[in-house]
């Protein structure tokens, strides 16, 4: 099987990068492929780069409340493009009730609280597997 491929980055003016960097390293160490876009992305630029790179999943690291507006905007942009790539988000700023709200809007998985590396990797693997099966 081709290696799982993820886009990892943050949205808008959120300058906290620790989480994104850490997840990137974690996935790379698990032999997954990462297209790392770092900070200062817009919903448009993320949607475009995800399509260009042909990633399996888009991962957004969230450390300020901007995500509450920008993640739904990203979902909208993807929909407009007819792109059904899964979006996952993570970060300590995401509260339990917001996690539910984001899932209801179409986010495929939310990593808040303190998930272990294995939990994150397993969830992402499952997501890629079911997505690829669905597409195949």
């Amino acid at each position: 099987m081709e290696r799982e491929h993820f886009l990892i980055g943050t949205l808008g003016l959120d300058q906290h990068e620790n989480g994104a960097v850490a997840v990137r390293r974690m996935l790379e160490e698990a032999q997954m492929r990462v297209t790392y876009v770092g900070r200062f992305n817009t919903p448009d630029s993320i949607a475009e780069e995800a399509a260009q790179a042909g990633v399996d999943v888009i991962g957004i690291s969230c450390h300020s409340w901007e995500y509450l507006d920008m993640v739904p905007e990203l979902l909208e942009k993807l929909k407009e493009r007819g792109d059904d790539r899964p979006v996952v988000i993570g970060g300590s700023v995401i509260t339990a009730s917001d996690a539910e709200r984001m899932k209801a809007l179409g986010v495929s998985a939310v990593f808040n609280g303190a998930p272990s590396d294995d939990q994150i990797i397993d969830t992402l693997r499952d997501l890629v597997r079911s997505k690829r099966t669905e597409t195949a």
């Binding site: 003016l13 300058q15 906290h16 620790n18 850490a22 300020s64 409340w65």
Partner: protein, 536 residues
């Protein structure tokens, strides 16, 4: 009732009545005393009676933040630390398409001269020192204009501004300017203050924010000293006298959970600074040798899990800072892991500092840990390692060149990855995260504050849009043209900013125009057109 100000030194004895000396020392008369070179034991011989208590503040428009300031001062804050929201930090006006959704949520929204006036109105600026985490291009000029409008003499103005031209793009507070321009802004800003604002700390070396990437205390201070040395050399090259600016440099350090190492770090920092200023840079004024150390407890050490534990972390870190003899402190609030500080968390942070100063009294005796075999040994070792690491960086080449090559970006990225790996692999115990965790449904204490959010101040965005339309665009464009010329020339950029702000040019317009004059796109994000073009 009292605000406690007059109670700080009300206990010259212990509770049992034992009389206390201002400091204690070895029987050897030649042993180092506090207040003497190389200042390992403290800037002054007497205890830090006037320790400045601050809490991070700033929310919504300037007027709203000004109310918050007054509230904190009424409750015993003796200093303020104002942080800009995401747009203000990046130099974008609140009507920028990417800045709207965070307008005022993580700090104050400031984008024009009158915002700074509203922010500082009725604050006793000669007594309450305002530490600014705001955009370096515009802050000093806007502060000077605000003081002018508020009829406050510039020469009495206290406060401080962070400069980190070598590192801002790599970890936090990116402003999207090339490193040479960031350096020029820092140097011009320091020179401007030396000329007009002699009591203002024109240059805070903020090692806090880049240590929050996960760098250890040796790396934190090595990066800090590297930048201090770089900027000092460049100021000397401009012909400034070392004693004209060195007394107004202060260092804002982080304080993590390694209690004794943090204390040793601060003692070593004072020693390294004084030796460097005297022996390498030839400073003679005693104030140039005894550096002011201010501090902030570590947000990175706080957890979203079991947030009440963060109150304990904050108080332990604050105790370390008090024992190390810092001049000012602030405590990261217990909710920092998941939100901009709530009013409740602000108050706990402030009360922690007050309990420390008024009840536990660690500051009654200067450098109470001086002479401890452990602390002295650790201080020496920290000094050696920090100095060696600075030399390693300097041997690699010119710091601006290192920045362009991405050396610092790499240092920060490595630190971020290592920090998370150490926690996730359990190498660094964090209670509530990788040990002594509880199921989410049981983790309820103080959780409710996480669900209460600050909504973006969209009405302020509308106000700015409307206000922009009331300006004379001819005047704005003239001012921007003059400013662009100043960026292309070598005039003091802060004086040019001040002139432009008088014509109601906004901070975002200044940033964009500076970018254009430097040959870059007006808007880094390609979303906003320059006002000059809009008029044409």
């Amino acid at each position: 009732m009292t605000n406690g100000k007059d109670m700080n030194n009300a206990h010259p004895t212990t509770r049992s009545g034992i009389e206390l000396q201002p400091y204690y020392m070895d029987a050897d008369e030649n042993a180092e005393r506090p207040g003497e070179f190389p200042f390992t034991r403290g800037r002054r011989a007497t205890a830090a009676a006037g320790l400045i208590h601050r809490e991070l503040s700033g929310e919504g428009p300037a007027k709203k933040s000004n109310e918050q300031f007054k509230y904190l001062i009424e409750h015993g804050s003796t200093g303020l630390d104002v942080i800009g929201d995401a747009g203000s930090a990046a130099g974008l006006d609140p009507d920028h398409p990417l800045a709207r959704v965070s307008c005022g949520t993580q700090g104050v929204s400031v984008c024009r001269r009158q915002d700074m006036t509203d922010l500082l109105r009725d604050i006793p600026l000669d007594k309450v020192s305002i530490s600014c985490s705001l955009n370096p291009l515009t802050t000093v000029a806007a502060t000077a204009l605000a003081a002018e409008e508020l009829n406050f003499p510039l020469e009495k103005l206290r406060g401080s501004l962070i400069h980190a031209p070598l590192y801002v793009e790599s970890c936090c507070y990116a402003v999207h300017f090339p490193v040479e321009f960031r350096t020029r802004v820092a140097l011009d800003s320091i020179e401007f203050c030396t000329k007009y604002m002699p009591k203002y700390h024109s240059y805070i070396e903020d090692t806090y924010f880049f240590s929050e990437s996960g760098n250890d205390p040796v790396e934190e201070m090595a990066l800090g000293f590297l930048q201090i040395r770089f900027l000092t050399r460049r100021l000397l090259e401009r012909g400034l006298d070392i004693d004209s600016f060195a007394p107004r440099i202060a260092i804002l350090v982080n304080c993590g959970m390694d209690f004794f190492e943090e204390i040793a770090k601060i003692r070593a920092t004072r020693r390294i600074y004084s030796k460097m200023m005297r022996d390498e840079f030839g400073a003679k004024d005693p104030r140039s040798l005894a550096v002011v150390v201010t501090s902030h407890t570590s947000g990175l050490s706080l957890t979203a899990q079991q947030p009440a534990n963060n109150i304990i972390r904050g108080s332990m870190q604050a105790m370390a800072l008090a024992l190390a003899g810092v001049q000012a402190m602030e405590i990261s609030t217990f909710d920092e892991a998941f939100r901009t500080p709530s009013p409740e968390a602000h108050m706990v942070g402030l009360r922690t500092q007050q309990i420390l100063s008024l009840e536990a009294l660690p500051g009654k005796v200067t450098d109470p840990l001086g002479g401890s075999y452990f602390v002295e040994s650790l201080t020496d070792e920290m000094e050696n390692r920090i100095v060696a690491r600075v030399k390693e960086f300097e041997d690699m080449g010119d710091p601006e060149e290192l920045e362009r090559k991405g050396v610092f970006a790499d240092v920060f990225q490595q630190a971020m990855a290592k920090q998370q790996r150490d926690v996730s692999k359990g190498r660094q115990p964090v209670v509530g995260v990788n040990c002594h965790a509880v199921p989410e449904e049981q983790d309820t204490l103080l959780r409710d504050v996480a669900e209460r959010k600050i909504e973006p101040y969209l009405s302020h965005v509308e106000e700015i849009i409307a206000w922009k339309k009331t300006r004379s665009m001819d005047r704005v464009n003239d001012a921007l043209k003059r400013f662009a010329d100043a960026v292309e020339g070598d005039a003091n950029i802060i004086e040019a900013v001040r002139d432009a702000l008088r014509a109601d040019v906004t901070f975002g317009e200044l940033k964009g125009t500076a970018r254009q004059a430097l040959g870059l796109d007006y808007d880094y994000y390609g979303r906003v057109e320059p006002p000059m073009k809009a008029v044409a």
